[in-house]
């Protein structure tokens, strides 16, 4: 009897516990509407509507996708070497990765931004920043190649970058880790942060025609961590807004010690004013060292130059240059809406989203509506005086906000893993959709421009877990495409990405596709070691250096038999692809070469350095399947001992008499 009673209780307990677990909300699953497939399907042979340029984060590269298909077209090497494309391995591209610290084969490419004309993407260039060894890159969208990289002095990690002004007059580079200014004075105790560590915001001028960079001036600020920035547009053009965290000026265990203040700051800079002061000679020239690397499309070669001077203006020396706006708590994104009136701060530890008004900020500045105490010599505008209003309970962990063309904002929430659509004027939440999982940045097509294209939003998620077939402990980061043309956002597609996308840009295909370069004109090739035809192919010895002027055309090398190379020689294969036909690259590799292949486009010349380590016969071959006779596109190089009497000889299609 007693036993039966116990059994009954046990049964009851089981029933209760089962029904509890049934109450547990279901996980992600697939929350996709019926015709999502049709809306992302781009039939074979047809083109996507948008180019989607996506930052590669710790891969150091930038990838190019199509939207809405999510198809990957190309990975453009920027800050990291790429043996597939010979980037950083060919003699021509090595100077692109030079810095004041020497050659650096890797970096962390954080954000990208399009070049703008009148607040709209113009399809000319993409800008990208590196977060470790601070640099800025320009990618040419006619060739989809990196055209220029400039190092940023006085800077810890160039995170708050490469955001540009309304006409890309300047690209901004600002330090995430404040550090003492460059130079011998940097050897100070870490504990002297408040005294010795400084922030620097660089204004890098962009030539409207050539795109060439030039660090015009830097603004020196108190030691702060600059996170992201957004330039004013329309009515607020001429201003720049940067989010700063670590207003505590901590230098250890930032996780806790930089999260103490209820409010950090958005730094508002009147950059037109700064430009005036700079032009009036009010800056101080500082001796620094930074590399400026340019790729010349005529010589198909990069050059690296070390520059030694930068002009610095200390914001504390000027009354009307910079203002701090209190912003809760440790803001990440600071984003200006399409009209230029509203500045949205996304405090990543805050439970609300503050929206600041540019007009109110201007009034507050005019009325000197400041807090009693300045911060490091910069006036602090009263929070309420600049505030348009707050979005209440939007979600947890707001990170980044972009905009559509209908007055709505879209904010990513890392902690609550969702995207929230809200109305800027009314500060009301309209819709929220979960992301899988933990979205970082998001991107609305044209969402940082004056007239967003709207239509698509892509969430770049930090955690992938079960979204794709598992690939061991290392998973790709996932992108998620939403249709935002209706009242509710609709999830359309998941697609995998390269590295860690921190930000992206979408540009209408028409702005780019017709300008895409097909071949390099061989008659315009000014490479010093070009062979313009097979008749110019040859091998020349100069002491221990051997230059091979090699041509490629379907499907042979000229020359393809080379003898007379000696141990101890440094051999340079200058490979000119004499094809003038679209999509007809040739590759080049030789056994034992301590670097990568070359991939040479039609009309281009690229150089591979080879130092043979033993005597014998070394095959070389074309690595990129070029024709039905690609397998035949090969040759031999004979390496003899030093001082050997084998004469230098080269040929194609004949059997030379060995020069012995």
């Amino acid at each position: 009897m007693k036993r039966r009673k116990h059994l009954l209780w046990l049964l009851a307990a089981m029933v209760v516990s089962i029904s509890f677990s049934a109450c547990k909300p279901r996980g992600a699953g697939s929350a996709v509407t019926g015709n999502a497939a049709a809306r992302t399907y781009v039939p074979p042979g047809q083109y996507d509507e948008f180019y989607n340029f996506v930052s590669g984060g710790f891969s150091g590269q930038m990838s190019v996708y199509g939207l809405p298909s999510g198809r990957l077209f190309r990975v453009i090497p920027v800050f990291s070497v790429d043996p597939e494309k010979g980037w950083g391995f060919s003699e021509e591209t090595k100077p692109m990765l030079e810095t004041s610290h020497g050659f650096i084969p890797w970096d962390d490419l954080h954000h990208i931004e399009a070049s703008f004309t009148d607040g709209m993407p113009d399809g000319k260039w993409m800008f990208a920043n590196s977060n470790n060894t601070p640099r800025l890159a320009r990618i040419d969208l006619a060739t989809h190649r990196t055209a220029e990289i400039i190092e940023i002095p006085n800077t810890g990690g160039n995170h708050c970058s490469p955001f540009t002004t309304e006409n890309s007059e300047y690209v901004i580079a600002a330090t995430r880790f404040s550090v003492p200014p460059d130079g011998p004075g940097g050897d100070v105790p870490i504990s002297s942060y408040k005294e010795n560590f400084k922030g620097h915001i660089s204004f890098v001028r962009v030539d409207k025609e050539t795109g060439e960079f030039d660090i015009a001036f830097q603004l020196k600020t108190p030691g702060l961590n600059f996170d992201l920035s957004s330039a004013g547009k329309g009515k607020s053009n001429g201003w720049l807004f940067l989010s700063c965290y670590n207003s505590e000026q901590a230098h250890t265990l930032l996780e806790v010690s930089a999260s103490q203040n209820d409010k950090d700051f958005i730094l508002a800079i009147n950059w037109k004013k700064a430009e005036e002061y700079f032009k009036a000679g009010r800056g101080t020239k500082q001796a620094v060292r930074y590399a400026h690397n340019k790729y010349n499309e005529e010589t198909h070669s990069a050059t690296s130059e070390i520059k030694t001077e930068v002009t610095v203006l200390d914001v504390a020396d000027f009354e009307d240059l910079a203002y701090l706006i209190p912003c809760p708590k440790s803001p990440h994104g600071t984003d200006v809406n399409p009209t230029g009136e509203y500045i949205i701060g996304s405090g990543k530890l805050a439970a609300l989203i503050p929206v600041f008004s540019f007009d109110k900020l201007q009034n507050a500045i005019a009325n000197k509506d400041f807090e009693a105490e300045q911060y490091g010599g910069i006036p602090v505008v009263k929070y309420e005086s600049a505030l348009h209003g707050e979005v209440e309970k939007p979600g947890l962990g707001p990170l980044h906000t972009e905009f559509d063309d209908k007055g709505n904002a879209y904010t990513s929430f890392f902690v609550s893993s969702e995207i929230v659509k809200w109305n800027i004027e009314k500060l009301e939440v309209i819709d929220r959709q979960p992301t899988y999982y933990s979205v970082g940045h998001l991107m609305v097509a044209g969402g940082n421009s004056k007239k967003p294209y709207g239509k698509y939003l892509v969430a770049y998620n930090k955690i992938t877990k079960d979204r794709f077939l598992p690939t061991g402990p290392e998973l790709c980061h996932a992108a998620q495409l939403f249709d935002i043309s209706g009242e509710k956002m609709e999830l359309l597609l998941d697609f995998p990405t390269i590295g860690e996308p921190h930000y992206a840009q979408a540009v209408p295909a028409d702005l780019i596709k017709d300008r895409s370069v097909k071949i390099y004109d061989i008659n315009a090739n000014k490479h010093p070691y070009i062979a313009k035809g097979e008749s110019e192919a040859r091998v020349e010895r100069n002491g221990n250096t051997v230059h091979v002027y090699l041509t490629t055309i379907r499907s042979h090398f000229t020359p393809d038999n080379i003898e007379g190379i000696q141990l101890g020689d440094e051999v340079y294969f200058h490979v000119t692809n004499i094809e003038q036909d679209w999509d007809m690259p040739h590759g080049f590799a030789i056994k034992g070469a301590g670097n990568s292949e070359l991939l040479v486009m039609p009309g281009e010349t690229q150089t591979l350095k080879w130092v043979p380590d033993r005597t014998g016969i070394f095959p070389m071959y074309c690595t990129d399947f070029c024709s039905a006779l690609h397998q035949e596109m090969s040759g031999y190089v004979r390496v003899s001992p030093k001082g050997s009497n084998v004469q230098l000889a080269f040929s194609t299609g004949v059997n030379p008499s060995a020069g012995e």
Binding site: R554, D581, W582, S627, A628, L629, E632
Partner: protein, 198 residues
């Protein structure tokens, strides 16, 4: 001069216009060979002018080396030296015949022009035959029994390439001139016959 030996004003004007148009032919592409293959969705084009070859000659030459076809070079064709003068001479002849306006001359011009057209096409066909058949015996690709003579006019499949051969702008002008000349001959013959009857 007999009255019915002079052609009507309309025909004289037509002949002069044709003569002027023939001068334009000297500078315009006369014939076009289009090549299509799976790997060339955008197509390749060979344009034949009175004095040169144009279009993607180098790319076509590069492809032709697989089958051992000789490379095309403008210098190899004597035609490119004389053709502009011949066309110019015909242009002058059209204008002169239009100016003089004699029926007999129109007929003679017609015969001469027709003859030129035939000779030109035969010459073109012979070159095509020559290039299509006389192949390098060491060519990488040898298909037994296969020749690569492009069609004189119309379409022909040559391995993976479809070749489409048609007149270009200049060629069409040439054809129109010929047709108009033939019309003049015919119309004048009708006029003459009718005037004899009456």
């Amino acid at each position: 001069m007999k009255r019915n030996d002079v052609i009507i004003k309309l025909h004289r004007a037509l002949l002069i216009v044709c003569g002027l148009a023939l001068f334009a032919v000297i500078a315009l592409p006369i014939w076009r060979i289009e090549l299509d293959a799976a790997q060339y969705p955008e197509g390749l084009e060979l344009l034949i002018y009175s004095y040169k070859l144009d279009g993607q000659v180098d790319i076509i030459n590069g492809l032709n080396h697989y089958i051992g076809m000789r490379t095309l070079h403008a210098d190899d064709f004597i035609e490119f030296t004389v053709l502009p003068y011949i066309i110019g001479a015909y242009g002058l002849a059209f204008i002169a015949v239009g100016a003089v306006g004699r029926r007999k001359l129109v007929n003679m011009l017609f015969v001469a022009f027709l003859l030129f057209g035939i000779v030109a096409m035969v010459d073109f066909w012979m070159w095509e035959y020559d290039y299509g058949h006389h192949l390098d015996p060491n060519a990488p690709i040898k298909v037994p029994g296969m020749a690569y003579q492009p069609p004189l006019i119309g379409f022909k499949q040559l391995l993976n390439f479809g070749a489409f051969s048609i007149p270009a702008v200049g060629g069409w002008i040439f054809v129109v001139c010929g047709v108009l000349l033939a019309y003049c001959v015919f119309a004048e013959w009708r006029l003459a016959k009718n005037s004899l009857k009456s």
